[in-house]
Subunit: 269 residues, 2 copies
């Protein structure tokens, strides 16, 4: 089971759009996938048609210890389950501030889930993180075996990247030896603009020049770039992934390629 | 003195771009402006050329009680001061979790600043908020006299808006009677797309149909729409506002109009 956190504390870089379309892309190819929404905005949940304002079981109940993951998941498409989130999740930050072992709640919940599903194991868990480095994202990075980082090729987005990588290194040292950065994907890529080309060069150079000991030194930038495509922003209002909503769009093409790349770099566990 | 929080917990909708260009636009017209960066990413600070990795006085020292606002501000352009932020600010969430009156730290710091600057009063304080509803943003909404909400005309951005408005109403009732929502600005507007037109219609209808008692019932959508313009994303790498970097761009035109509208709706205090 690959447990992938999709994370970047910079806002609006394509975390939710990538989580939903990678999860849906893998499920269409027959993989058994569970998408966990870890953002109290509930964007992944509503992107897949779940009404987050209804009273229901969400990831909050897992953090509070009331429910198991298997009790909160909803089957939204064949092979694709979602554990939804809503505003309740915002309470976790304060409620867990001095709880023992608060970083391991999600990891333990996933281990329990894997035990219960032993006969029908999941292939992928995808976690959509909020734009923050808080208790919830630390739980995701502690539970994850790998991390995908969406990056918008803009100056402000590049600014926070080295900090994100340092935080990841810290979590790997202290909380999760298994964590590795599988790759970065360029999202909202505006082909033909000088800015996208310049920032992409900066990013590549930064990775080449990093210390070979750093946990991100093997991280690559995926070949598939996700170009800006309005269809990707329209799909959530129809509760569909890009593959259902606009199968012939550049968005479907780009995420289709990315899914192939993600599958190909199966970590030798 | 108008104290304006620029806030939306949805990520990447133009909070930093609006904070910097509104602050710079007002300063160019002779207003005395202080921009306070409240995001631990330090995007507003670096957009205006401040190296946030250097050891320096930041807004963190104000929250921790070590420094006054007047000791942490830096003059970056004529009439424009910035109180910078960096990663240190991320510690505030945990450090203040059980501090008495933690919501009022920024308000009290601004009152002290106003007393010290009595002979050369500021006209505007602009606060760039992070994409979260946390202790720091609650401080901003408690200190503010008004709020501007940048909205990207996309489905996912609209999703979280009613929650933001409800939270604002709660803060107005419990912590800050003076708080009012001056308006919402449409940012990253892609003219000619059906999505932008549809979401804008949804937003207008939502405001028209809201309860006249709700604190946002007077909120308007500014006439000036900020169109997507790559120059706005390029300007930060030159440490310039859009007015200096590309004065003839649509970005400078749109933010110029917005600044005029913001000045025109001077609240009768
Ligand atoms: N490649 C793309 N082309 C066009 N629009 C896109 C693309 N990727 C994402 N979007 C749109 O841009 C906005 C930001 O993307 P998204 O919400 O996925 O980012 P995020 O990183 O999850 O944001 P947050 O930080 O708020 O969680 C959304 O409205 C989304 O529909
Ligand atoms: N009108 C625009 N046209 C083109 N690019 C823009 C525009 N407004 C903002 N941008 C770019 O889009 C990205 C997101 O904008 P910005 O960082 O200002 O949003 P934010 O709401 O402050 O994000 P965060 O939630 O991370 O604080 C930035 O890279 C910025 O340079
Ligand atoms: Mg998201
Ligand atoms: Mg910002």
């Amino acid at each position: 089971m690959r447990i992938i956190a999709i994370m970047n504390q910079k806002g609006g870089v394509g975390k939710t759009t990538s989580s939903v379309n990678i999860a849906a892309g893998l499920a269409r190819l027959g993989k058994r996938v569970c998408l966990i929404d870890l953002d109290s905005q509930g964007n992944s949940s509503s992107h897949l048609g779940i009404d987050i304002n209804q009273g229901m079981q969400t990831i909050y109940q897992v953090f509070s210890g009331e429910r198991k993951l298997i009790e909160t998941r909803q089957l939204v498409k064949s092979n694709l389950w979602v554990v939804p989130a809503n505003i309740d999740l915002a309470a976790v930050e304060v409620e867990l501030v001095d709880a023992q072992g608060r970083e391991f709640i999600l990891k333990q919940a996933l281990e329990q889930y894997a035990r219960e599903e032993r006969d029908k194991p999941l292939d992928y868990v995808i976690m959509d993180c909020p734009p923050a480095l808080n208790t919830v994202t630390i739980n995701a990075l502690t539970a994850a075996t790998e991390m995908l980082i969406p990056v918008q090729p803009h100056y402000l987005s590049l600014q926070g990247l080295s900090r994100l990588l340092e935080t990841t290194a810290l979590i790997k040292r202290r909380l999760n030896r298994n964590l590795s950065i599988t790759g970065m994907m360029l999202c909202l890529y505006e082909t033909g603009t000088r800015l996208a080309a310049d920032v992409t060069d900066d990013l590549m150079r930064f990775l080449e020049e990093s210390d070979p000991q750093a946990p991100w030194s093997n991280a690559k930038v995926f070949n598939s770039r996700i170009r800006r495509n309005i269809r990707l922003a329209e799909a959530p209002s129809f509760a569909q992934s890009i593959f259902e909503y606009a199968p012939d769009s550049t968005g479907a093409h780009d995420y289709g390629n990315l899914v192939q790349e993600v599958m190909a770099c199966e970590k030798t566990q």
